[in-house]
Symmetry: C2
Subunit: 344 residues, 2 copies
């Protein structure tokens, strides 16, 4: 297991290329000698994340939407694998604008599949989510857990994406690697509890508002461990539809993470809990995925949850520009702003 | 268990009202004293199926598409429960026009949910499919079977619909009854193997073309048993998301059904098998659902698979007009015609 991009591909098409995970993916593909066409509408992606990639001769960037089917098919031409990482990743505010998950996640995935079919591209990698297990009855939750009931529009839209991809693989002889991710941490992290808490504490170091009761249990994975798993799975899993949970060895309580964060920043804020056993409607208070399937290929995470939290904090401390960018009120839902309360 | 519509509803909105199952549903709701607004674009529904309903003073019909969001919301006004039975039910030809399942099933379901939200309607009944279990590993397959991998665009689109409905129930305090159906038989049956074999034998009684090897095992349910189960579940299951398999006590091999059909018609055609263990790409060669959950409410099917096949044949024999109507080549996919080979 070396975490290198799989052999045999010459040109990768990456949707969400300017996003948190997508931009790291682009960098690693380029470093591995693969040409990359990055595709992003920059609605939430950051052009700064592609600064290094854009200096690379094997990188092409298209600023366009996954809802623009014509542009999608045109830019995909000549690629031999598609990494579909574009998404509306805003889990918490789905109920404010239900159409967004349908369009940005479900219909977008359909558009990507159709563009692949039009270009004769057979291989697809999809960033799905552990949230599709809903309130899992089996924890740690394996890939073949009992058929879950969806609790969020985000997860429902990702499940719909998985279903489309699987049906395309069966019907059109395509191949896919579908990854059900826990929350991802690391450099370029732009949403989630570490981001939100850091933003709050920067504004007011004396007080931290916390959604739920702090006892929520979640698992987190460092972004480069995540990408190594993606590459390892592509190298070693050769079925038609290859589904993998990606998560860390363990989970932590939100309160524990708050302890790491405040200690690392040297702060002792008053904690102001919103109460209840979960962060928001549809949130799952206990997320812990069974990762035996990906581990059986030899992969294992190298960065602990605590270390992931601290690397994220250190990166945020050196990149305050990202906080300002993300705290701009959400144009599509006036009044909503990302930042004040944690969303993972 | 009386199979009567649940008490407490005054006006039902029925999508797919002119369809096979939908039109029987309309008749039974009206007979139960419930006002009905039927909604159907008549793309596959038959106005003749609503002949009796249209003479009833408590019935209103709107010829419109589930993709027309404005009309959907307007016509739903004043209803207190929605039965969403409109769908592209063409399982076999999904690969010829992949956008159709996305639009007619997934996006349509989203539109229905949004129209309900706009009208403050909280209760929804959804006709899903046992096909979402893909190639089930557990047979008979229970509702909480291991998380399946989708094999058809039809099932993927229905799974997406289920996910949307569940997330809406969680997020907007709605309530749903979701039914995963086996193939349904009975009066007004307009597609499936009985329809297709009858059509073939009418054209040429000496020869019957059969998809697969005849050993496919499927379960079938009579339409009125299906609707009694729907009503019983609504009366007795009061969770937020109520999911039920609906199927018969047993299954039969396709060859067995061919035996019943040819014997009933007094024919002895040469059987011409296409070969392979399944009818088409994405077909599941063994469908048998575990129905203990709905049975625990006291429901049980009254009509056997054989009797369902024979009632269907007898109805077709008296309604040849329906064969002509359905054998018109599929406008949206030139060259495809429904009829010559069985599709369930």
């Amino acid at each position: 297991m070396n975490g290198l991009p799989p052999a045999g591909f010459r040109c990768a098409f990456v949707t969400g290329a300017a996003g948190f995970i997508g931009s790291h993916l682009v960098d690693r593909l380029l470093a591995g000698g693969i040409r990359v066409v990055g595709y992003d509408d920059l609605s939430t992606g950051m052009p700064e994340f592609l600064a290094e990639a854009r200096r690379h001769p094997a990188f092409t960037f298209a600023r366009s939407s996954v809802l623009d089917t014509r542009q999608l098919a045109a830019m995909m031409q000549g690629c031999d694998v598609v990494f579909h990482f574009a998404a509306n990743a805003d889990v918490r505010f789905g109920l404010r604008h239900p159409r967004r998950d349908l369009e940005q996640n479900t219909i977008a995935t359909f558009n990507v599949l159709e563009a692949m079919r039009a270009n004769g591209i057979a291989d697809m990698v999809f960033a799905s989510t552990g949230a599709i297990y809903g309130e899992a009855k089996v924890i740690p939750t394996p890939e073949d857990a009992p058929f879950p009931v969806q609790t969020s529009l985000y997860a429902a839209s990702k499940l719909a994406g998985e279903g489309l991809i699987s049906a395309y693989c069966e019907g059109y002889a395509m191949r896919s690697w579908i990854f059900r991710l826990v929350a991802i941490l690391g450099e370029r992290h732009t949403h989630g509890h570490v981001f939100d808490f850091y933003s709050q504490l920067l504004a007011d170091p004396s007080r931290l508002r916390v959604l739920g009761n702090g006892r929520q249990r979640k698992s987190f994975l460092y972004v480069h461990d995540c990408l190594s798993a993606v590459f390892d799975a592509m190298t070693h899993a050769e079925g038609s539809v290859n589904i993998f949970n990606l998560g860390n060895d363990d989970y932590c309580e939100l309160d524990t993470s708050i302890g790491w964060i405040t200690a690392h920043l040297g702060l002792a804020p008053v904690l102001d809990y919103a109460g209840g056993d979960r962060g928001w409607i549809g949130d799952n208070p206990f997320v812990f995925l069974d990762t035996r399937r990906i581990r059986s290929l030899g992969w294992q995470p190298k960065v602990s949850i605590k270390e992931g939290v601290i690397r994220t904090l250190d990166w945020l401390a050196g990149n305050h520009w990202v906080l300002e960018r993300r705290s701009v009120p959400d144009a599509a839902s006036p009044g909503a702003s990302v930042g004040p309360m944690q969303s993972i």
